[in-house]
């Protein structure tokens, strides 16, 4: 199971990747199409994704050039030389027009940002340095669309090469990308910055939990089958499954919230050993006692720690912890129910005769499960 975790986590990450290949394609096309290595100007674009799920893009650019270009594009007479305050006022007047030169897109769908000029209010637009240019600081803000995975930027109102820096609350800033007018930026993966709807997030973890049992969790499947084979009656099965579920839910949560430390090197062989135990006990008795129930509960605690390892490998963001835990656990339960339902359908006809059922199903299947469990125990211990 432990060996499956990185693979499953990779698979989860891969779900986020298809557009990354498009980005690569785009990057190559843009790079090979015409790399226009112009003089690097003073325009800089800084993109930040806030923890509250907003994007905040600051475009810092020469105010005079911006105003002149917009007036020229609109066929208006040029304002000429303006005082700093007038120039900034003109920038703000022309803001909506300027917005037409910008394309902010998430997953290749353009969004309409709102325009703000906080630094025009709070900070001087020029410093004390001689002839310091008047710099417009335009902010484009808005919510990151739910479920968005990728960000791209395009800007047309520049004649020089400009720098685009994408920062993130959860990681180091990306290296500055140098762009020409009209050139689309590379694709920036939002990663942990993406904000999917809670239902979608929960569904994703539910699917992860389910697939952690079916088809990936063969050890868990065998354990649940071991419980199933214990008795042909429904009551012992329900008791055992309830104890197991309660226990693994408990340790899954406690381990994920780091209340209980995780020792996969110990837990994984013990999980294999638990499979051996339930299978062998199936050969000796079918009467449910408190001791069996307690052991199933104890084994559930171990399996819960294993589940936590799988969920932790999915690298879920901190604010998705609870929703991930609930979703994943429900997925695990659904997987267990699916295994039990399939087992019931498979052996329903044989279980009418308890003796035949025991001789032809319980004994050989439990033996097989026990042998597999022994093999896994040895295998996992050998990895120490």
């Amino acid at each position: 199971m432990a060996r499956d975790q990185p693979r499953r986590a990779d698979a989860l990450r891969f779900m986020r990747r298809p557009a990354a290949r498009i980005a690569l394609l785009l990057g190559v096309l843009v790079a090979t199409g015409s790399v226009s290595a112009h003089e690097i100007g003073t325009t800089r674009v800084t993109v930040a994704f806030t923890p509250s799920g907003e994007y905040d893009i600051e475009v810092s650019t020469d105010a005079a050039a911006l105003v002149a270009r917009l007036e020229s594009a609109a066929g208006q007479p040029r304002s000429g030389t303006l005082a700093a305050e007038d120039l900034i006022r003109r920038v703000e007047e022309l803001g909506p027009q300027w917005l037409g030169q910008v394309r902010v897109s998430f997953d290749d769908r353009a969004v309409t940002p709102r325009l703000e000029y906080p630094r025009h209010r709070d900070a001087p637009v020029t410093d004390d340095e001689l002839f310091a240019p008047v710099v417009a600081k335009i902010h484009l803000r808005g919510p990151i669309p739910p479920g968005a995975r990728e960000f791209r930027w395009q800007y047309g109102l520049t004649a020089s090469t400009y720098g685009l820096t994408v920062t993130s609350a959860s990681r180091q800033p990306h290296p500055t990308e140098w762009l020409e007018a009209g050139q689309v930026s590379r694709v920036y993966s939002l990663g942990a910055d993406s904000r999917e709807s809670p239902a979608k997030v929960a569904l994703g973890y539910l699917a992860l939990g389910f697939t952690h049992i079916l088809p990936h969790g063969v050890d868990h499947i065998l354990f649940v089958l071991g419980l199933f084979l214990f008795s042909p009656r429904l009551a012992p099965l329900l008791w055992q499954v309830s104890a197991f579920t309660l226990a693994h839910t408990l340790t899954l949560g406690l381990t994920l919230y780091k209340v209980v430390p995780s020792f996969p090197e110990v837990v994984e062989p013990l999980i294999a050993l638990s499979i051996v135990y339930v299978a062998i006990e199936n050969l000796t008795t079918s009467e449910l006692r408190v001791g069996r129930l307690a052991l199933v509960f104890a084994f559930g605690l171990l399996h819960g720690m294993g589940f936590a390892g799988a969920l932790a490998a999915a690298d879920l963001p901190g604010d998705e912890l609870l929703i991930g835990l609930v979703g994943f656990n429900l997925g695990v339960e659904a997987g267990q129910i699916a295994v039990l339902a399939a087992a019931f359908l498979l052996v329903a006809s044989w279980s009418r005769d308890p003796l035949v059922y025991r001789r032809l199903v319980v004994v050989p299947a439990s033996l097989l499960i026990a042998v597999t469990g022994v093999y896994w125990t040895i295998q996992r211990l050998s990895h120490w």
Binding site: L29, G33, S34, A37, G41, A65, R78, L130, V184
Partner: protein, 279 residues
């Protein structure tokens, strides 16, 4: 690949190609020297910006010592470097210490660029580089053009607006426009001749374009004669840029196909007619 995904890819590819073409188009941008004042007072400080753009709307280019080959100001008393803070905009700040025409000159070290055949041919057309255009047309196949370009920009300033003192002069830029009359000594509509030199020799047959900041859409164009001379009657006052591009086949082993030089001269023309000044 699902069909809608395939369409998505195609859209992006088309978009990328269109935009890469658009990015290439900016290669034809002008480069000029933009002083904070064309007619500063004697004793005043003047900010000297380096600007790249079109129609006299330029993005400032910060001072980069790595690409400055020459950045000087020439007065009647001599030539000296234009000081400035590395990374600063304006790229230079200088004090006007005497009357008489100030000639600011800037030449960059060459930078390389690659252009798609379409972009390259379009820009050859725009800049009137017909000889190169013919060579490209005759060459077998169409390939990406690798070009090395250098900026050769000048600005003419008239301290105190004194119209009759000082003349433009050659600063030794590889491609250089030299005004044969002091533009501050003429009025709108009067003739202003320039000589275009390449490696200090007159460059004949070159397209020279004059653009006014007040009316940039109305570009004046003329070809230099055998003496490299071109004459404009600039119809309005205010700031002007006169510019020309020269391109030669690159030296073997340089790693590029073409080497280009972008000359410009910026100055201000007084409004209204003035009495003709001696040439």
């Amino acid at each position: 690949m699902r069909p809608h995904r395939a369409r998505h890819h195609q859209t992006l590819i088309v978009l990328a190609l269109v935009l890469s073409g658009a990015a290439g188009h900016v290669s034809a941008h002008d480069f000029w020297v933009g002083p904070s004042a064309f007619r500063p007072k004697v004793g005043a400080l003047v900010g000297v910006r380096l600007l790249v753009g079109e129609n006299m709307i330029g993005d400032p280019v910060p001072r980069d010592p790595a690409i400055i080959k020459q950045f000087v100001v020439a007065t009647a008393t001599g030539t000296k470097p234009v000081p400035g803070r590395d990374g600063g905009d304006p790229a230079g700040v200088m004090r006007v210490d005497a009357p008489g025409l100030l000639v600011v000159g800037y030449q960059s070290h060459p930078r390389t660029i690659e252009l798609t055949p379409d972009t390259f041919e379009r820009y050859l057309g725009e800049e009137g580089l017909d000889e190169v255009r013919a060579l490209v047309a005759d060459a077998p196949g169409r390939k990406t053009a690798r070009e090395m370009f250098s900026r050769c920009a000048k600005a003419l300033l008239s301290p105190d607006g004194s119209p009759d003192s000082g003349r433009d002069r050659s600063l030794g830029l590889t491609l250089e426009l030299v005004a044969e009359r002091n533009p501050y000594a003429i009025g709108a509509g009067q003739e202003l001749p320039f000589v275009l030199t390449y490696d200090q020799k007159p460059r004949a047959g070159a397209l020279v374009i004059a653009i006014s900041q007040r009316d940039p859409a109305r570009k004046l164009t003329a070809r230099t004669d055998r003496q490299g001379r071109v004459v404009f009657a600039l119809p309005v006052g205010g700031a002007w840029i006169v510019k020309a591009v020269h391109m030669v086949a690159a030296r073997p082993g340089s790693g590029v196909d073409w080497e280009s030089f972008w000359a410009s001269s910026t100055f201000e023309v007084p409004d209204g007619a003035r009495p003709a000044a001696p040439r």
